[in-house]
């Protein structure tokens, strides 16, 4: 784990520096800096209202940050300053894809069509910005076939292949979450940002989600940035955890380190600073008891 922590600072895919976001009088994010390493799963956690979704919105261009710099470095070495790009360019050129905390699907389109919409830019080029496609050039027909193959691959990965021709709005909640991830992957991203993908999932679905994320990272080498409340997911799959409270970073490190960080414990349990020591002692006691039991 410690080794990984050092390698990650060598090759960050995303570098957030001194990010601040102000809404009127509310400083939603205050001088927040962190790095996400290439090929890793980085988790962003924190209590409700800490500003996690706001960080995502700044990274993906839906909000323009009040201050700060967000640098995306692609595998090819291309660098993008995300705070200067319009939102759709961030997905198109910088190759950052995202999902939403409240699922956003094209509910009246079929599951397959959802994945085809995600390949818009690729298909747009192949169809000569519609004109060649309209005239029936074969290049578009070929590209269209390939895009269906890509969609099929991700449908299989998300185990949605049986529901490919159903309207997306007809899927159960867990399947909609998986569809949103599959759709984001169809854009061919280098960084995938997931806003609470396990929210509202039952334990079995949650496990399947873990597998899906691991496979995504393993197969495509896509780096993942993850907001999550479910600690079992965070601790199980993430390589690196960043903790946010009231818009400020309070902890940053590997899962074991963060789990035992007094500040994090205090933030999650909502205690005053002086009491933190007591809490830690209690936790250690409990853990040693549990350890004794399993042995």
């Amino acid at each position: 784990m410690a080794l990984e922590t050092t390698t990650m600072t060598n090759d960050p895919i995303l570098k957030v520096e001194h990010l601040s976001m102000r809404f009127g009088g509310l400083m939603a994010i205050n001088d927040f800096s962190f790095e996400a390493a290439r090929g890793e799963i980085t988790a962003l956690i924190g209590p409700n209202g800490a500003g996690k979704t706001t960080v995502f919105n700044c990274i993906t261009g839906f909000y323009k940050p009040t201050m700060g710099m967000i640098t995306m470095r692609q595998r090819s070495g291309g660098e993008f300053l995300l705070e200067r790009l319009p939102d759709f360019e961030i997905a198109k050129r910088a190759k950052v894809a995202r999902t939403f905390q409240n699922i956003r699907m094209f509910s009246g389109l079929t599951v397959l069509e959802n994945l085809l919409v995600a390949q818009h830019n690729k298909l747009m080029l192949a169809s000569g910005f519609t004109i060649l496609g309209l005239l029936g050039f074969p290049a578009y027909r070929q590209a269209s076939k390939e895009s269906i193959e890509v969609a099929k691959h991700w449908l299989e990965m998300a185990s949605l292949i049986d529901r490919a021709d159903d309207p997306a709005g007809d899927l159960p909640y867990g399947a909609q979450r998986r569809l949103e991830i599959a759709r984001a992957m169809c854009t061919g991203p280098e960084l995938l940002c997931l806003d609470e993908p396990a929210a509202g999932l039952n334990p079995r679905e949650s496990l399947a989600l873990n597998d899906l994320l691991q496979t995504i990272r393993g197969e495509t080498g896509t780096s993942i940035l993850l907001i999550e409340h479910d600690m079992s997911v965070v601790m199980e799959i993430s390589d690196h955890v960043v903790v946010l409270e009231y818009g400020q970073k309070i902890s940053d490190g590997n899962p074991d380190y963060v789990k035992n960080d007094p500040k994090v414990i205090a933030a999650y349990l909502g205690v005053e600073d002086e009491e933190v020591e007591e809490v830690i002692e209690e936790i250690e006691e409990i853990e040693s008891e549990q350890g004794g039991m399993t042995q």
């Binding site: 993906t60 839906f62 939102d87 759709f88 360019e89 961030i90 997905a91 198109k92 894809a97 995202r98 939403f100 956003r104 699907m105 094209f106 509910s107 009246g108 389109l109 079929t110 397959l112 069509e113 085809l116 919409v117 995600a118 390949q119 818009h120 830019n121 298909l123 747009m124 169809s127 519609t130 496609g133 309209l134 578009y140 269906i148 099929k152 449908l155 292949i161 490919a164 021709d165 159903d166 309207p167 997306a168 709005g169 007809d170 759709r183 984001a184 854009t187």
Partner: protein, 461 residues
Amino acid sequence: MANVASTTASAGTEVTARALREAVFAGLITLGLFVLFVGLETDQNIRNELVLRQRWGLLAVFVAVATVGRFLIVAYVQPWLAQRKAARVAAPDIAKRESFFSRNFAKIAIVALVLYPPVILALVGVQGSLKWVDNFGIQILIYVMLAWGLNIVVGLAGLLDLGYVAFYAVGAYSYALLSSYFGLSFWVLLPIAGILAALWGVILGFPVLRLRGDYLAIVTLAFGEIIRLVLINWTEVTKGTFGVSGIAKATLFGIKFDASKDGFAALFGLPMSSAYYKIFLFYLILALALLTAFVTIRLRRMPIGRAWEALREDEIACRSLGINTTMTKLTAFATGAMFGGIAGSFFAVRQGFVSPESFVFLESAVILAIVVLGGMGSLTGIAIAAVVMVGGTEILRELTFLKVIFGPTFTPELYRMLIFGLAMVVVMVWKPRGFVGSREPTAFLHERKAISGSFTKEGHG
């Protein structure tokens, strides 16, 4: 058994009693509503004095219709509907086998339309065919084409455009002015009119498309009015309210439709009649409408068409997938405007005369009503709605027997809007998603299933 029979019998008498009661109520309400409107009529006599005429007979007809209608609905129609609903719930999964007719509806409709003029000619003769080909055929097809064009903007991209008639006007005036000032032919100007309208679509689109929902609707409405006011006030070019007249007719491969020696009729040894020109125009607008449909169907399977529909469903998700939503909206606006412009130049060539009066807000409203009634996005539904709406109002003119009931001064056309409104309310109650509420997917893996209208969104911008 006897028990069951007696309960159904008592239920039957109960329903009849309720129907009678409600019928009497409906009759009374109608009487109260119409006693002053219908029962009494103000008129002027020869000495310009106001006189009251009493029309109790007509009032009685109104009340009778309401009473009997209500009775029939409560006593027979409602139980029948309830029964049907229960039957459908009881047997939900009887596979819906589509009949041959509904599967091949489009092909049958096209063949019927192609055969329509010769059949009419054979049935009612050359002169008699004028009304049927022009008033019913061409008139309806113009609205079909306009509604299909607007469908791209409203039905697919989900952008509420209340000023669509502006593009129709741009197309009509493009042809009228360019042909009378520069003498260009119809076939050259047809695409030019489309391009000019599309250009106006883009010019309007740039500042407006960042607006959403109601704001977009209001600004497009204003844009439609601006175009009309410019046409009225720019008198040096457009001749203002007088309009442009004497617009050149279209030709068929250079053959003119006139009484000259090498005109169409003389060339084919037919007696001179304007009916042939109308039939030519009928086929022309049929071809243009089919072109609109063909392009729409093709575009829906292209990335741009899918992006339009995705935009209707969720704009933010579109942007998160790298779709440039401004460009996508602009292309929808421009494509819709282009078909509006082409239809406009056809309108100019058909009338031979254009004036700003033809491009009032009401036209936009009628076209939008056709799109909504037909089912947003569905070409078949929209075509049916255009036939019902436009054909229906044309039929009103034919119903001369109504004069026998309502008196010789009764002009059914005046009730057009009333009936329009009534039809819209009825259809929206009966089929809230329009005649064809379902959506055809543009691609499929295993089987093509129609998507129920309850999943699709109307768009909000």
